[in-house]
Symmetry: C2
Subunit: 158 residues, 2 copies
């Protein structure tokens, strides 16, 4: 009995450690993924401080299936690529990268946030993390409004 209890405790501790040590990986190669859609968020918008600029969404093959079916398989990754929006001479052009936002699907690893791991990589860095342990409040708290469609806001543009 004692051996079983020790085993259980060890398993639970491992599970907790695993959850904590499951940082969302940088989405290597996402610039070659499918371009889902784009949008500009200008000063005056409620989300300007967090997401001001021009952003593009990219989907890996598993995420494309998610957009098409509404069911998001483990391994689906969506990237929110946020750049400065430079307004000049009646144009808006792309400036420096502000953040690479990531939603990474793994129903078990990220069960606490609807099966999605959230992260933001600052600027062009692949290691500086903007979300880290705050995904529940910094990301999922808003995405939960989209529960009926798998917590994803964007839709695939034709």
């Amino acid at each position: 009995m004692r051996r079983i209890s020790i085993f259980l405790v060890a398993t639970l501790l491992n599970a907790a450690a695993f959850a904590e040590s499951a940082p969302v990986p940088y989405p290597t190669g996402y610039r070659a993924w499918h371009h889902v859609k784009s949008m500009v968020i200008n000063p005056g918008h409620g989300l300007y401080d967090a997401f001001g600029g021009i952003h593009h969404l990219y989907a890996n093959p598993a995420a494309i299936r998610g957009y098409q079916t509404g069911k998001w398989p483990d391994g689906a990754v969506i990237v929110f690529d946020l750049l400065d929006a430079k307004s000049a001479e009646n144009t808006v052009t792309e400036g420096a990268r502000k953040v690479v936002g990531v939603m990474h699907r793994d129903a078990k690893k990220y069960a606490a946030t609807g099966g999605w791991g959230y992260e933001g990589f600052k600027g062009d860095s692949r290691t500086e993390r903007a979300v880290a342990g705050n995904a529940a409040t910094a990301c999922h708290a808003c995405h939960i409004a989209q529960k009926d469609v798998g917590f994803v806001f964007s839709k695939m543009r034709q």
Copy 2:
């Protein structure tokens, strides 16, 4: 001698017919191609009437090599996907498609316009052509300014 002349004339007529009958094909599947960059052109810009809205550029694999090397192999295709830009509540979002612009590389077929065939497909149509036989004046006349980089204006965003 007479037989040779007839042969030559026939060959030249065939060549002329070939050039005229080499319409730029619709770039099937381009939405899955590599997203090069994007830009918004607003009212007041000199190109607004022609290109106003939000546009995205896409490159097929041969065109990606062109962006990387400055040398554009036959078969390279660049798409200029122009959508309405809808401004509301401090955002700019994508509206209906206005035109699918195409540059299609074939040094022989399109020798008269720098080796590029130009076309525009209206809205979501794959058959309604906006350029047709007017590529030299409607397209290449401006692109010729970019002769040193293979007549292409855009650069691949990282």
